[in-house]
């Protein structure tokens, strides 16, 4: 994607680079999955990533979050090499629909709280503030009253909200979503995207999302892919195209997010409650 | 990644090397001992007491080889192909019988077809006693190791005399030319065994307590021949899981009969005897069932006779 890099590089100083890839390649068993990919994601961008099966979507996301090492090239998060990156709480990651055992004995609340247990928190006890955060994340996702249910009893859409709530509990600046609506019915998908869009428009979060839902990607991020690498297609909504640096109604707090979401209850509650 | 791969490779190679060296070392150990000697009569015996008798009576005419090596419990032993080979090449193969060698039927069938080895059962002529003890019902899985009869004949000097005679007769059978030598050696050994028998009889007659508590019911013949009563911690097989009521019953027996020592045998772990001894607040002592020698005993030149002496001393001390 190196060629088009020039048109994003003219951004203003507040549009800091959140993710940057330089000549990243990845091959698996001598087969190139991703070759020589360069691109940058700036603050408050929304990147939609589409591609056929095997195009390397999940591989790319896993490299960005440090689960896979690129064969060559450099990946930076918030300006720091991913190998040295420490501030993982700034990143919310929702992996492709978890294939956890439905019998796994964990409540929604326990799963959401687990978003807080990363590095730097070893030996730290759970505080009242942590419980508050979990409540806020649950309320923002409209699943507060499912809090004590076993995660396996929830519908696919509800589970996806649980994982989104877990990703949000640290109030991240970057959300990485891998096929968040896979295996979920259309109606629920729609409400989920409404929620995501709303979060993007009113909250200070950068999005990188893999999706197979072309309609949603196109309607929100534009008909044409802004860039392409192999079979990977990037649809981008740059923040500096729509927003100024100083944005008054932009919040960056979990509590703020919760209040916004609650005030738009109809968005949150469409569809996937049973 | 490269470094860790290298170190992984290195550790795998190192492990393999160690494994091969260990096996080679162990292999060598037994190899030399079991090699046939063509200038002598080769006699293969199944376990230590027969080996002892064969080497004593055979003297310089005989090259005796023991199958169950030093320090191995004969109940846990299984024959390997080298053992079959050694027995096939020998002139005489002596085994005890009465189910002591659970593997014997398969072993005899496995001897090579063109082998001229003469195989003899040595326990013939000993008056056998029932295997199961009075206190303890027979465990089901005992039967594959032992028959219904108690195989531990050699722990009594009286039956050792019969075994010795059988060994002598078998040797003469395969090597009649040296009959005189065997007879002479046998007479010398017989005198020692008779002396041992007399010592057992006189010393054990003087003891006040007649109850011996052992970890393995291996002293039935000894008890019968010298007027003792054996209470075994377990049934005939040393390999059964200890159960609470059994332990409790023996503890009671120990207390009620004023038993001062609990005997354990050397080839089996002593933890059970120790548990009982600490429960009943008595001491433990070794009573060797003489099924084999440990490597240390071998090195120190212990024999059937010296160990039988030690058993007697221990018995006398325990039964005072």
């Amino acid at each position: 994607m190196g060629q088009s890099n020039s048109n994003t590089s003219s951004s203003t100083s507040c549009h800091q680079e959140v993710i940057s890839l330089e000549n990243v390649s990845f091959s698996f068993q001598q087969q190139a999955v991703i070759s020589d990919l360069s691109f940058a994601v700036k603050e408050r961008d929304f990147i939609g990533l589409i591609g056929t099966n095997g195009a390397g979507k999940t591989t790319l996301l896993r490299m960005i979050v440090g689960l896979l090492k690129p064969t060559s090239g450099t990946i930076r998060l918030f300006g720091e090499n991913v190998n040295e990156f420490k501030q993982w709480e700034r990143i919310g990651y929702v992996p492709q629909k978890n294939n956890f055992n439905p019998l796994f004995p964990a409540t929604v609340h326990e799963v959401v709280m687990s978003g807080l247990y990363g590095r730097n928190k070893i030996f730290k006890k759970i505080s009242k503030a942590d419980y508050k955060k979990s409540d806020d994340a649950l309320l923002a996702m409209g699943i507060f009253d499912l809090k004590d249910k076993r995660i396996g009893q929830l519908s696919g859409g509800q589970q996806q909200r649980v994982f989104l709530a877990r990703a949000l509990i640290n109030n991240p600046s970057l959300l990485i979503l891998d096929e968040p609506t896979k295996g979920i019915d259309t109606e629920t998908q729609e409400s989920f995207f409404h929620m995501i869009k709303h979060m993007h428009q009113h909250h200070n979060i950068t999005f990188l999302m893999v999706s197979h839902d072309l309609d949603m990607i196109r309607s929100y991020l534009g008909e044409q892919a802004a860039d392409q690498n192999g079979k990977l297609k990037f649809h981008i909504k740059h923040s500096h195209e729509t927003q100024d640096c100083v944005e008054n109604d932009l919040t960056h707090s979990l509590k703020g997010l919760r209040e916004q979401m609650e005030s738009r209850k109809e968005v949150v509650l469409i569809g996937d409650r049973n | 990644m490269n470094v860790s791969q290298k170190s992984f490779r290195f550790s795998v190679l190192a492990l393999l090397l160690i494994a091969i060296l260990t096996m080679a070392a162990c292999g060598n150990n037994t190899n030399n001992a079991k090699e046939a000697d063509n200038t002598k009569i080769n006699v293969v015996t199944s376990f230590y007491p027969l080996y002892f008798l064969a080497s004593e009576i055979g003297g310089d005419q005989v090259h005796a080889v023991n199958l169950v090596g030093a320090g191995v419990e004969p109940h846990d032993w299984t024959p390997k192909s080298r053992d079959l080979d050694a027995a096939s090449k020998a002139q005489l193969f002596l085994y005890h019988g009465v189910g002591l060698e659970g593997w014997i039927d398969a072993f005899l069938k496995g001897l090579s077809k063109d082998s001229t080895v003469v195989t003899r059962e040595m326990s013939k002529g000993v008056t056998l006693i029932e295997g199961s003890g009075d206190e303890h019902e027979h465990e089901e899985d005992d039967d594959h190791d032992h028959g219904v009869m108690d195989p531990h004949t050699w722990n009594s000097p009286k039956s050792a005399l019969i075994l010795a005679e059988n060994v002598k007769n078998s040797l003469i059978e395969v090597d009649a030319a040296n009959k005189a030598v065997y007879e002479k050696n046998y007479e010398a050994l017989k005198q020692k065994l008779v002396a041992l028998d007399e010592e057992y009889t006189s010393k054990l007659a003087q003891t006040t307590n007649k109850n011996i508590v052992t970890s393995h019911q291996a002293f039935g013949y000894l008890a019968r021949d010298y007027g003792l009563k054996q209470v075994a911690i377990m049934g005939l097989n040393p390999d059964a899981e200890p159960r609470a009521q059994d332990l409790l019953a023996i503890t009671k027996f120990v207390k009620e009969n004023d038993v001062k020592y609990i005997f354990f045998e050397e080839l089996v772990s002593d933890q059970l005897a120790k548990t009982l001894a600490s429960e009943a607040k008595v001491k433990t002592m070794v009573l060797n069932p003489l099924e084999g020698l440990t490597r240390e005993q071998e090195k120190e030149g212990e024999t059937y006779l010296t160990l039988m002496e030690r058993n007697l001393q221990n018995l006398v001390q325990a039964l005072q």
């Binding site: 896993r62 979050v65 440090g66 689960l67 420490k86 993982w88 709480e89 990143i91 990651y93 992996p95 978890n98 956890f100 055992n101 019998l103 796994f104 004995p105 964990a106 409540t107 609340h109 326990e110 799963v111 687990s114 247990y117 990363g118 590095r119 730097n120 928190k121 070893i122 030996f123 004590d148 076993r150 877990r166 | 162990c26 320090g71 191995v72 419990e73 846990d76 032993w77 040393p238 390999d239 059964a240 899981e241 200890p242 159960r243 609470a244 009521q245 332990l247 409790l248 050397e266 080839l267 089996v268 772990s269 933890q271 059970l272 120790k274 548990t275 009982l276 600490s278 429960e279 440990t294």
Partner: protein, 267 residues
């Protein structure tokens, strides 16, 4: 009931109660990570270590521990080599352990093989109890302070890594703790039955527990009950204790399964 007052029974009870907490706890993490067969494998390898310990005159349980830890690392290595057929590594290491054990036992002396295969809880001595006690303390401290992280790792290893959890460290920690618990449990329930004490309480908790917290509590309660009642039954009716405890655990599991089915059809 005079059995209860005897020293060997009391020692068995203490040892059993300690293992009744630690084994089910470690087992819960193994089962939830779908690694329940690892318990079996490590115990068989541990037996080889016990045999070597006897052979070279080192405290057998310690040698068993060393072997179990080595095996758990070997399994991780092989798991990476055979990614998609991870259970292969378990089968390979297990047969390797059994093979090595049989080799060492056949060279050995003074070993009561069955006391390590089927357990020998009534012959625990005070050294054994101290070792079991120390292992219990280590396991309980580790779980008490790290339960949140262990939960995250168990539930979603990827998310754990992305949230910055040192996943490798925790994987090693689980392996080492499991190896510790297994090598000391062998004398109590025996190598053949160790995996029952690791997995069955966890299997029960999957049926009963509605939350992770509950499942932790459930495994401990079931483990302790099985050990105490099993020892009493075995003591009074003169049964093999290790086997009794395991059969009791299976009975509890069956009752819970039946009960759950009843509730379902009732609804």
């Amino acid at each position: 009931m005079e059995i209860v007052t005897s020293e060997f029974f009391q020692r068995a009870l203490i040892g059993g109660l300690l293992i009744g907490v630690t084994a089910p706890l470690m087992g819960l993490f193994l089962v939830l990570r779908r690694l329940s067969m690892i318990g079996d494998t490590l115990s068989h390898v541990s037996i080889a270590g016990v045999a070597l310990g006897f052979l070279i005159g080192v405290y057998p349980v310690a040698m068993g521990l060393v072997f179990a830890i080595a095996a758990s690392f070997a399994i991780e290595k092989l798991r990476k080599a055979y990614k998609t057929y991870a259970e292969l590594s378990i089968a390979i290491i297990m047969s390797g352990g059994v093979a090595l054990a049989s080799l060492l036992f056949s060279m050995g002396k003074n070993i009561n093989v069955s006391s390590y295969l089927f357990g020998s809880i009534f012959t625990l001595n005070s050294t054994d109890l101290y070792v079991i006690g120390a292992v219990t303390v280590v396991v309980l401290i580790a779980i008490r302070t790290q339960v949140k992280e262990l939960f995250l790792l168990t539930f979603d290893e990827d998310a754990a890594a992305v949230s910055g959890l040192p996943v490798k460290f925790y994987n090693v920690m689980i392996s080492v703790l499991t190896a510790l618990v297994i090598s000391v449990s062998i004398k109590i329930v025996g190598a053949l039955l160790v995996s029952a004490l690791l997995t069955i309480p966890a299997a029960c908790s999957l049926i009963v527990a509605r939350s992770f917290k509950q499942s932790v509590i459930t495994v401990v309660i079931i483990g302790e009950l099985a050990v105490v009642i099993g020892l009493l039954i075995a003591g009074i009716w003169n049964l093999a204790p290790g086997g009794t405890i395991v059969l009791l655990l299976i009975a509890v599991l069956l009752v819970l399964l039946a009960f759950r089915r009843g509730v379902r059809t009732g609804n």
